[in-house]
């Protein structure tokens, strides 16, 4: 839905106990026309969606976020000034569920933190 349209994944780095996805926003996406007209800001839910898409990529399954425990937005993401972002994931991946601890950062700026539990979706 968002992947390859709203943003693209431009590589990843494996670190100790974490993985970092490098993503690039598409400032021309229609969502930025409505959020907000003449003042493009990435909607908080799209930031959540980008994290989710990176976790899906990492675990190789589509996910249903049944429990979004906490999600804190500390800095607005504007697609022109903050086009390139790092999504840092710490995951506990088991058979059917994934525990997610994630943040979106770039350099010194932290944009958001998220803690959630997601279920792997069974797709035909």
């Amino acid at each position: 839905m968002l992947k390859n349209e709203f943003f693209t994944i431009n590589g990843k780095e494996n670190g100790e106990g974490q993985v970092i996805y490098h993503v690039v926003l598409n400032p021309d996406h229609a969502i930025f026309k409505g959020h907000f007209p003449g003042n493009p800001i990435s909607p908080g839910v799209c930031n959540i969606g980008m994290i989710k898409a990176c976790v899906e990529e990492e675990v190789g399954s589509s996910l249903f976020i049944a429990n979004l425990k906490q999600c804190k937005f500390s800095h607005l993401i504007t697609p022109n000034e903050n086009k390139e972002l790092d999504i840092v994931l710490k995951l506990e991946d088991s058979d059917n569920t994934v525990k997610i601890s994630a943040s979106i950062v770039k350099g010194e700026i932290k944009f958001m933190d998220l803690k959630a539990e997601a279920q792997k979706e069974q797709k035909a």
């Binding site: 409505g34 799209c46 959540i48 049944a66 425990k69």
Partner: protein, 141 residues
């Protein structure tokens, strides 16, 4: 009750990310809205509205409540202020709505300080609760 284009009087979001199509009204501490899921919704996938769409629907219900208060305080002609989600807590999604289903969301204000509003939201389809959460909204001056 406000519907369709009229919703734009209350919230700053515009197509394709308008996630309420009906606003039933606000009381001192509550607001109530609805969204019928259409196939071309930007947050729909395989005939279902994804979590992001449900949360945005809740956030815009809060924004519409703020929009009503703004008009009460600053006049009927005042434009909706820009607002952002500051925090989401304890958000449970029971199931994803399908195309054609109508979500009805009620928000209750639990705290208001300056330009920050804390709310609790419950989203139902008919009698079935499909999502609930606590949400903190920031509004620009």
């Amino acid at each position: 009750m406000l519907q369709g284009e009229e919703i734009k009087q209350l919230i700053p979001q515009r197509e394709p990310i308008m996630m309420i199509d009906t606003f039933y009204g606000a009381t001192e501490k509550t607001g109530k809205s609805a969204l019928t899921v259409l196939a071309d919704n930007v947050f729909c996938e395989d005939g279902q509205l994804r979590e992001m769409g449900m949360i945005e629907h809740i956030a815009q219900t809060c924004a519409a409540y703020n929009g009503v208060k703004n008009k009460q305080n600053n006049g009927a002609e005042s434009k909706p202020k820009l607002g952002y989600i500051g925090e989401i807590k304890k958000c449970q999604v029971v199931r994803l709505p399908r195309v054609g289903e109508q979500l009805v969301t009620e928000v209750v204000v639990t705290a208001e300080v300056m330009n920050v509003t804390l709310m609790e939201a419950t989203t139902k389809i008919g009698e079935e609760t499909v999502a609930s959460c606590q949400i903190k909204l920031f509004e620009e001056d």
